[in-house]
């Protein structure tokens, strides 16, 4: 996961104007004392203290497989075989099977899902499963231990630990801005096109350098802000009707809008670069708990347990190096109820 890091150290300052990345030497550490791996936060000896919680994961978490490959986790929500998992990760699986405790289930039905929460309801043929106990207490406070699925073997579930790290809240901001795929001449007073990006809707529709955009969807556009205002209400795949002046003549074009990052390569931020692989869907959740358990994009979907072994949430996203998100228990109870009704 560190391949993209160009230097050994990264300054931990956001949006630094001097985005320096010097190779600061390790010389002062030459005589350093080091803590052995098994005693570190997620070391094996520390994990042993969490054995009663691990036992809950053994029974009530679900391992998702694509063939032989572990693709994520899920939560057992009823004794008769209802499970939940992260919908967008589930979609990537071609040959789905699941494992609960030591038993593999090759026949898994995906019954329903909700894009709002990115949760899917699954069903296996089973009796006597042990569902998680959803916590009915208030949302866990900052500093509360939380336990998630760590790497799994066929017979054994392992734990990864951390704490609740920030205020429970809504995370928005996931809407991808759409673009025509043109660059405008900044110095000109009108909206004249300097360059048309390859693979863009503008190129496909036949817009050319030198064209002047006069109106969009029938509304006159004099400044770039006018155009942005119209585009801001659109989604990728939507179309916009442009009236354009070319060589003294007016023409109409219908341009399909595409997500900005699909057209213009965006520079990865330093914080993204130091975060490794994160979940594709990690924004736009009505309410999340934030914790510092190191998940990977393939270890979401499982239960988030407290020290009582109760389930305080379902892991829904790896957001960055220091942040993971879980849907709170109270919301999960509602989501599961709704999905089960839909699947009837």
């Amino acid at each position: 996961m560190t391949k993209r890091l160009k230097s050994k150290w990264n300054w931990a300052r956001a949006r630094a104007p001097l985005a320096v990345a010097l190779g600061v030497g390790t010389a002062p550490l030459a005589e350093a004392q080091q803590l052995e791996g098994h005693l570190r936060l997620n070391g094996s000896q520390v994990m042993e203290a969490f054995e009663p919680i691990r036992a809950v994961l053994q029974q009530s978490s679900v391992v998702l497989y694509d063939g032989r490959k572990t693709m994520g986790y899920g939560v057992v929500v009823s004794s008769d075989g209802y499970l939940v998992a992260k919908a967008s990760e589930l979609e990537k699986i071609k040959k789905l099977s699941v494992r609960i405790d030591k038993t593999e289930y090759k026949s898994v039905k995906v019954l329903a899902s909700t894009a709002e929460w990115d949760v899917a309801l699954l069903k296996v043929e089973a009796e006597d499963l042990v569902p998680v106990e959803w916590s009915e207490d208030a949302e866990p406070a900052h500093g509360t231990w939380v336990v998630s699925n760590g790497s799994s073997s066929r017979l054994r579930r392992r734990v990864r630990i951390g704490i609740i790290s920030a205020n429970a809240r809504e995370v928005g901001g996931g809407k991808s801005p759409v673009v025509l795929g043109v660059q405008l001449n900044n110095e000109k007073e009108n909206l004249s096109i300097r360059e048309v990006a390859e693979n863009s809707g503008a190129a496909a529709a036949g817009l050319k350098s030198g064209d002047v955009i006069l109106s969009a969807d029938g509304q006159e556009v004099a400044k770039i802000e006018d155009l942005q205002e119209i585009l801001s209400k659109k989604e990728p795949g939507d179309k916009v009707k442009l009236r354009v002046e070319r060589d003294g003549e007016q023409k109409e074009f219908e341009v399909e809008l595409r997500a900005r990052e699909k057209i213009f390569e965006e520079k990865e931020s330093r914080n993204q670069a130091m975060s490794g692989r994160v979940s594709q869907r990690r924004t736009n959740f009505k309410r999340i708990l934030q914790h510092d358990v190191m998940l990977s994009e393939r270890s979401t979907g499982g239960p988030l347990l407290n020290l009582d072994g109760r389930c305080v949430g379902m892991n829904i996203a790896r957001a960055d190096r220091a942040e993971s998100y879980a849907i709170p228990a109270a919301e999960m109870v509602k989501v599961i109820k709704k999905l089960r009704e839909e699947s009837k």
Binding site: N10, A12, A14, P17, R40, L41, W145, D292
Partner: protein, 332 residues
Amino acid sequence: MTRFALLSLLASALIAPVGLGADEEEPSRPYFNDKEAPENIRDLMKIQESLVSALPRARKATVGVDLGGGAGSGVIVSEDGLVLTAAHVSGGIGKELTVVMEDGTKHKATSLGLVASSDAAMIKIDAEGSYPFVEIDKNDTARLGDWVFSLGHSGGFDKERGVVVRIGRLVRVSDQTIQSDCKLIGGDSGGSLFAMNGRLIGIHSRVGGSLEQNMHVPIREFQRNWEEMLKAEFVGEGPFAQKPEIGKGFLGIRTEDREKGGVRVVEVAEETPAAKAGLEVDDVILSVDGKEMADKEAFSALMKEQAPGFKLKLTILRDDEEIEIEVELGAR
């Protein structure tokens, strides 16, 4: 940094001995730090209880540091608003910054001294007041393997999210650097690392490629350089801050001698620091930072000691009236 600001800072330091003076009773070392690892749920509960009870005070004292264009964190260590942070966050001496409290309240602040070799730095909130603060671990009790927690405004200040807390252990300890497995990310720089008893033991500096390489400046490095930093000195050389380039400070005026003393401005170049500060032709500079300017020679000698970013307070005679103008120097 003007002489005025510096003096007032020194005065406040004398009135309230920042973090190093008398304070409440030393809290005891939690028993779980003397175990190799927690053994059972009870030990884990104790760690959780310590953390949850230390957090409210730690959160209130951990601030966002906004430099305009860049953002980091810091932590208040005295009631009158002394802030410890990283040198690469404060970015120099005498810089104007904004300190953001957890509830979003903003305070103007000025950077004091720094240690360029180890990334330690101080900031002082300008306005007098009673600010939430934490005690530092002044007896240097932190040891390898201790349970710790880190706070910081990861990715910049976010009021809805609040300050972010992470747990870990001290996994590597040396004289100038301590390393924990509390996961840090951009924006955490200058943020606080605490022992489970709520004492400040370090300041976040940088991260390595692996998630376990989270580096902090130990509090002892601050203690060693405390007085120098309070006096707004630039200590050491190193990668974390660039020394101001003395002699390169640029004002943007031409002057001539004046019979009765002082120097007369004969030209103010456009778009220069002097023009932006409102200096005008025929203004007479009587003194700079309280120091009288007898003639051109005295003035140019003073300018040779200036670096870009330094601030000067000019006492000006304009239309028989004395006015004060503050100007931030640019680069020659």
